[in-house]
C-alpha cells in the first residue's frame, strides 16, 4: 500500500472545511480540502485533529475520484462523517464551513474490494458504522459491471439516527437492495423493527458466493459475522473493521494493540479468519 512519504509522520496537514452537513442530531459530514492531495482507499482512516483539543481516528467516508489530479487550490476533497462522541469530536463539531481541521493519514489496511469482483456483495452497517461503508457502496456502483449484486442492511437506534439518507435513496434508485431497520420506531416509521441481524432473509444474497463488508457497534459485528459464517460464507470473505483507542495511527503508541496486532496498521479491516486467529473480538 502506498505510504505517503513525508519526513514527520505525526505532522498533520491543514484542511479547509468546504462543506458541513448535519446528518442527524449528533452526526455531521465534513467535506474538507487538504493543502496537499492524499491517496486513500475505503476502510482507511485519518487522524483528524484540532490544535488544543487532540487527535481522533476517523474513517474516510468518501471514495477518491479515479485519477483525481492535484487541483489548483490544493488536494481534492475528502469527506469525514463524525459523530459527537466526546471531548474532541464535540470540539470538531464546533468547526463550521470555512474553518480548518488538521489531518494526517491515510492509515491502515483498506477493504479488499477486489474480493467482490464477479461476486455478490453484502454490506452490513449499524449506526455511524455506515460511514466507512459508504465509499464501499460508491465503489460498487462505479464498478457495477463487474459486481453481480449489492445489498445493504442498515440499522440504527431510531429513524432519526439513520444517516446518509439521500445517499440511501439514491443507492436504492441505482439498484442497490437497501434494507433499513430501527431498534425503536418513532411516529411515521412503519419499516422494519429490530436489529439488522434479524433481516438476513431480506438481503436476497447467496451467502456462500458473496463477500460481506461489516461495520457497526461491537455487538452487532459479533453476531453478524457469526451468522454469516453459519450461513456458509467463507471466513475470508467476511470482512469487518474494528475500533480501538488510537493515539498515533502508525503502530507506535501501543493503545490499539490487541493480541499481537496493531489495529491501526494491521487493521482496522480484518477478515473473520484473522479475527479468530488473533482473538480480536
Amino acid at each position: 500500500m502506498a505510504v505517503r512519504e513525508r519526513n514527520n509522520i505525526y505532522l498533520p496537514v491543514k484542511a479547509e472545511v468546504v462543506e458541513k452537513r448535519h446528518l442527524s442530531a449528533d452526526v455531521s459530514l465534513f467535506t474538507v480540502r487538504p493543502d496537499v492531495p492524499f491517496d486513500y482507499r475505503p476502510g482507511q482512516f485519518f487522524m483528524v485533529s484540532l490544535w488544543g483539543a487532540g487527535e481522533v481516528p476517523i474513517s474516510v467516508a468518501s471514495l477518491r475520484k479515479e485519477g483525481a489530479k492535484r487541483s489548483q487550490q490544493g488536494g481534492d476533497l475528502i469527506e469525514f462523517c463524525i459523530r459527537k462522541a466526546g471531548k474532541v469530536t464535540s470540539l470538531i463539531h464546533d468547526v463550521e464551513k470555512g474553518g480548518f481541521l488538521w489531518i494526517r493519514g491515510p492509515y491502515g489496511r483498506s477493504f479488499p474490494l477486489e474480493y467482490a469482483t464477479g461476486r455478490e456483495m453484502l454490506v452490513v452497517g449499524g449506526g455511524i458504522g455506515l460511514a466507512p461503508l459508504r465509499p464501499v457502496i460508491q465503489w460498487a456502483l462505479r464498478e457495477r459491471n463487474s459486481i453481480k449484486k449489492v445489498s445493504l442492511l442498515y440499522g440504527a437506534r431510531t429513524p432519526d439516527d439513520l444517516i446518509f439518507r439521500d445517499d440511501l435513496k439514491r443507492w436504492a434508485e441505482s439498484g442497490v437492495n437497501v434494507v433499513l431497520t430501527v431498534d425503536r420506531a418513532t411516529d411515521g416509521w412503519d419499516g422494519n423493527l429490530g436489529v439488522v441481524t434479524t433481516l438476513w432473509h431480506k438481503s436476497e444474497i447467496d451467502f456462500r458466493e458473496a463477500v460481506s463488508f461489516i461495520c457497526g457497534p461491537e455487538v452487532m459485528i459479533r453476531s453478524a459475522i457469526n451468522d454469516l459464517f453459519f450461513f456458509g460464507m467463507p471466513e475470508d470473505r467476511i470482512i469487518t473493521t474494528l475500533e480501538a483507542h488510537m493515539k498515533c495511527g502508525v503502530g507506535k503508541c501501543g493503545h490499539c494493540y490487541a493480541g499481537r496486532l496493531y489495529i491501526c496498521t494491521d487493521g482496522p479491516v480484518f477478515s473473520f479468519r484473522e479475527i479468530k486467529e488473533h482473538n480480536l473480538l
Binding site: 442530531a25 449528533d26 429513524p159 436504492a172
Partner: protein, 698 residues
C-alpha cells in the same frame, strides 16, 4: 539533563523522587532507590508528578477584583499593597479576630511557620487553621491527650518486621501506596494482616481477617476487642501498671462492651472479635494503623482514644515494629500541624494558653501575642456566615470543595468583606476572591516537608518559578513587610533556623543535616541528635500514658425511611484531595475522568440501577448526579463517593456535624437516598434531511 532529588507533592508517604530537568523544563520523574520509604518504587501519582507543573491553567500573575469586570491582572506591588492596606484596615476597624488565615498542608514547613507567625504576630489573631482539621485533627487531639504526642509512633521501614498488622479505616494500598507496599512485604514474610473496614478496599484482599463493621461503630468494635483482651487475661499488666494511669476508670466503662452487645451494634460476629483480640494481643510486634476511616466522624477523637487505649492495654507501643500509626493524608499535613498552623498551638504543639510558651514566642517575635485560642476552619466558615469574620486569607486550600455542606460555605464566602486566595491553580473559591496571588509549585521552591512517619525532608528547587509566581514564603514575608513587620530571610534555611530555635522537637533540623540520608525524624532536639525512628521508648512523651474513657455514640445522622443509605466519602487511587494537581495530569484524569457512586449489587438491583447508569444521590443538604459503579467493595446499605470532583462535589451532601472536642466534620457518615435518572432525550435539534416517506424503501 539534570536530576534533582525532592519529595513527592502528593501523599504523606513522602517518597523521595528525582525531577528530571532538560533545558529548564521538567521532563520526567524517577524514584530514589535509597529512600527508606519508597526504595525505588513510586505510585502512579508520584510517577506523573512532573506534569501538572506546566499546565496551562497555572496562575501566572497576581489579580485584583474590579467590581465591574471581574479579576484583572496586576503587579505584585499593587496586589500586595492592596492586601496589606485592606487587612490593616479591617484589623483596625473590627479587631484582629475578624480576620482568619488558612494555611496549607501542601506548603512547606517553613511556609506554614511563616504563615502562622504572620497570623499571630502581624495580624494578632490565633484564627489560623488548615485542612488537617478535616482529616486528622482527631489524631492530634486524641493521641496528644493520651501520650503527649500525636503522630505515627513507628517508622515505615519497621513495618516489614511486624508480626501483626491491624489496619482500621485505611485503604492503604490505594491511599498510602508505599506504606501498602511495606505491608505486603510484611505479609509475604509471615505477618498476619487484620483489616477493619466497612468497605472492601484492595488491602483487604490480602487480609487474613476482614471485619466489616457498620460505618461509625468503630468505638464499639475497638471496645469489644478490648473487652475480650481484659476478660481473657491478655492485658500486659506490667506495662499498664508502670507506664499508664487511669486504667481502673477505663476498665469500669469497658465492662459495658460485652461482645454480644458489640456484635449487635457493629454487625461483626463475636468469634471474629475474639479472634482479632487474641491475635493482636498475643503477638509482641503488633502495629496498629488507621486513617480517615477513624478520624472523620463526630466521634473521631473517641475513635482515636479507643485505638490509643488498645495499644496501651497490650503494651504494643514504644518498641520497634510496635505502636499506633495514624496515616496522614497530605504530603505535609504532619508538618503543618508541627508548625502550629492550628488555632491553639505554636510550632511544636506549644499551647497559646500557656503563658511560658507565649512569652517565649513574644520575645522572639517582638510582638504581643493573642491569648485566646482561635477559630477552626469550620468555625471560621460559620463566623463568616454570621458576619463576625470579615476577611479570610487562604493559601493552597479549596474550602469550596473540601469542606462539608458546600452550599453553606458558598454563602459564607459571599458574605466576606475581603478574601485573598493564594494558590497555584484557579479553584472554586477564587470566584469570591478579591485578590488572587500566584504561588509556586513544589518543583519551583525549597523548604522541607514532614511525612507521616515524622521524617523532615528537604525539597529542592528544580526549575525557575513559572510566570510571575512566587513561593508562598516569599509572598508572606513581602506582605508582612508591607504591614510594618519585617521578615527578612535569605532563604528557607534561615526560616528553619528560627523554627529550630523555638521548637524543641525540631531543634536539630537544620537544612544541611537533612540533606544526608533523606532527612531526620522528630523529635530531634539538637544538632547532634540522630532523629527518632520510633516514639515513646521507655516513657511516654508526657510521662505516663493516660487511659481516657470513651463511650459509644452513634453517628449524627443515621439512615431512615427517606434517606435509607449511609454515604461515606473518600479518595481514590488515581486522584488526590481536591484534584488541583492530579486532575491536570493527562494519564490520571483519563483513568477516572468522572465522579461515581459505588453501590452494592443487591442495592443496585433493588433500585433497578445498572453499572454506569446515572443516578441522583441526595441528602438533606443537596444532591448530585453521578454514574453508578456496582461493586461488592461497598456493603449493602452503604454508598461511597470520591470527593475530588467539583462538577459533582460529594461535599454538597455531607454533614457538617462536628466532633465536640476537635471539631472535625463527619465526612464518613451521612444519610442519603439514591434514585436512578432517566437519560434525558439527547435529541436537541431534530434534523429533517429526507422525509421519512422517502425512506420507506423496503
Amino acid at each position: 539533563m539534570d536530576k534533582i532529588l525532592t519529595v513527592c507533592p502528593y501523599c504523606g508517604c513522602g517518597c523521595g523522587l528525582y525531577l528530571h530537568v532538560e533545558e529548564g523544563r521538567l521532563v520526567g520523574v524517577s524514584p530514589s532507590r535509597s529512600h527508606p520509604v519508597n526504595r525505588g518504587s513510586l505510585c502512579v501519582k508520584g510517577w506523573n508528578a512532573y506534569e501538572f507543573v506546566v499546565h496551562p491553567d497555572r496562575l501566572l500573575k497576581p489579580m485584583i477584583r474590579e467590581d465591574s469586570s471581574g479579576l484583572r491582572e496586576c503587579s505584585w506591588d499593587e496586589a500586595l499593597d492592596y492586601v496589606a492596606h485592606r487587612l490593616a484596615e479591617i484589623r483596625d476597624r473590627s479587631g484582629p479576630d475578624s480576620i482568619g488565615i488558612l494555611s496549607s498542608a501542601k506548603c512547606t514547613n517553613e511556609e506554614n511557620y511563616l504563615i502562622m507567625k504572620f497570623a499571630r504576630a502581624v495580624i494578632g489573631t490565633n484564627n489560623i487553621d488548615h485542612c488537617a482539621r478535616l482529616c486528622h485533627s482527631s489524631t492530634v487531639g486524641g493521641l496528644a491527650a493520651a501520650f503527649g504526642s500525636g503522630a505515627m509512633t513507628n517508622s515505615i521501614s519497621e513495618i516489614r518486621d511486624a508480626k501483626v498488622l491491624f489496619v482500621i479505616g485505611s485503604n492503604t494500598t490505594e491511599q498510602h501506596p508505599m506504606i501498602g507496599m511495606h505491608m505486603l512485604d510484611a505479609v509475604d514474610r509471615g505477618a498476619i494482616l487484620i483489616v477493619a473496614d466497612p468497605r472492601r478496599p484492595q488491602i483487604a484482599e490480602f487480609a487474613h481477617i476482614h471485619l466489616r463493621h457498620r460505618p461509625g461503630t468503630d468505638v464499639a468494635l475497638l471496645m469489644g476487642i478490648m473487652h475480650v483482651i481484659v476478660n481473657e487475661g491478655l492485658v500486659d499488666i506490667d506495662f499498664v501498671r508502670r507506664r499508664t494511669e487511669n486504667f481502673d476508670a477505663f476498665e469500669h466503662v469497658l465492662r459495658g462492651f460485652h461482645p454480644q452487645a458489640v456484635e449487635s451494634i457493629t454487625g461483626v460476629s463475636i468469634e471474629d472479635i475474639r479472634r482479632v483480640a487474641r491475635i493482636y494481643a498475643m503477638e509482641k510486634r503488633s502495629m496498629l494503623f488507621y486513617a480517615m476511616g477513624i478520624t472523620q466522624h463526630i466521634t473521631g477523637v473517641d475513635n482515636v482514644r479507643a485505638c490509643a487505649n488498645l495499644v496501651m492495654l497490650t503494651g504494643h507501643i514504644g518498641l520497634p515494629s510496635s505502636g499506633i500509626n495514624p496515616l496522614r493524608g497530605q504530603n505535609n499535613v504532619q508538618g503543618a500541624c508541627d508548625m502550629g498552623a492550628l488555632p491553639n498551638v505554636y510550632s511544636g504543639y506549644q499551647t497559646v494558653t500557656d503563658p511560658r510558651a507565649r512569652r517565649k514566642f513574644e520575645r522572639a517575635w517582638r510582638r504581643k501575642l493573642p491569648t485566646k485560642p482561635g477559630l477552626t476552619v469550620v468555625e471560621m466558615t460559620e463566623a463568616a456566615y454570621e458576619g463576625r469574620l470579615k476577611a479570610l486569607y487562604i493559601t493552597g486550600e479549596n474550602p469550596l470543595l473540601s469542606d462539608p455542606d458546600l452550599n453553606h460555605v458558598k454563602e459564607a464566602m459571599k458574605g466576606l468583606e475581603f478574601l485573598v486566595v493564594q494558590d497555584i491553580f484557579p479553584n472554586e473559591t477564587m470566584e469570591y476572591a478579591d485578590v488572587v496571588l500566584p504561588a509556586c509549585s513544589f518543583a519551583e521552591k525549597d523548604g522541607t516537608f514532614t511525612n507521616t512517619e515524622r521524617r523532615v525532608q528537604l525539597l529542592t528547587r528544580a526549575i525557575e518559578p513559572i510566570g510571575d509566581s512566587r513561593p508562598d514564603w516569599e509572598i508572606i514575608a513581602d506582605l508582612s513587610g508591607r504591614m510594618g513587620y519585617e521578615m527578612q530571610y535569605r532563604g528557607t534555611y534561615e526560616i528553619m533556623e528560627e523554627i529550630a530555635l523555638l521548637t524543641p522537637s525540631y531543634g536539630g533540623m537544620l537544612h544541611h543535616r537533612l540533606r544526608e540520608r533523606h532527612g531526620l525524624q522528630w523529635p530531634c532536639p539538637d544538632v547532634g541528635h540522630p532523629g527518632t525512628p520510633f516514639l515513646h521508648r521507655k516513657k511516654f512523651a508526657k510521662g505516663l500514658g493516660t487511659f481516657i474513657t470513651v463511650e459509644f455514640r452513634p453517628p449524627a445522622e443515621l439512615p431512615d425511611e427517606e434517606y435509607p443509605f449511609i454515604l461515606t466519602t473518600g479518595r481514590i487511587y488515581f486522584h488526590y484531595h481536591t484534584g488541583t494537581m492530579c486532575r491536570r495530569t493527562a494519564v490520571l484524569e483519563r483513568e477516572e475522568p468522572a465522579c461515581y457512586v459505588e453501590i452494592n449489587p443487591l442495592d443496585a438491583e433493588r433500585l433497578h440501577v445498572r453499572d454506569k447508569f446515572p443516578v441522583k444521590v441526595s441528602s438533606r443538604r443537596g444532591s448530585i448526579v453521578v454514574s453508578a459503579r456496582v461493586t461488592e467493595r461497598t456493603p449493602e446499605g452503604v454508598v461511597f463517593i470520591p470527593f475530588h470532583y467539583s462538577e459533582a462535589a460529594a461535599n454538597l451532601l455531607t454533614n457538617a456535624a462536628l466532633d465536640p472536642t476537635v471539631k472535625i466534620p463527619e465526612y464518613k457518615v451521612c444519610a442519603v437516598k439514591v434514585e436512578p435518572v432517566m437519560k434525558e432525550d439527547r435529541r436537541t435539534r431534530p434534523v429533517k434531511v429526507v422525509d421519512l416517506e422517502d425512506l420507506r424503501i423496503t
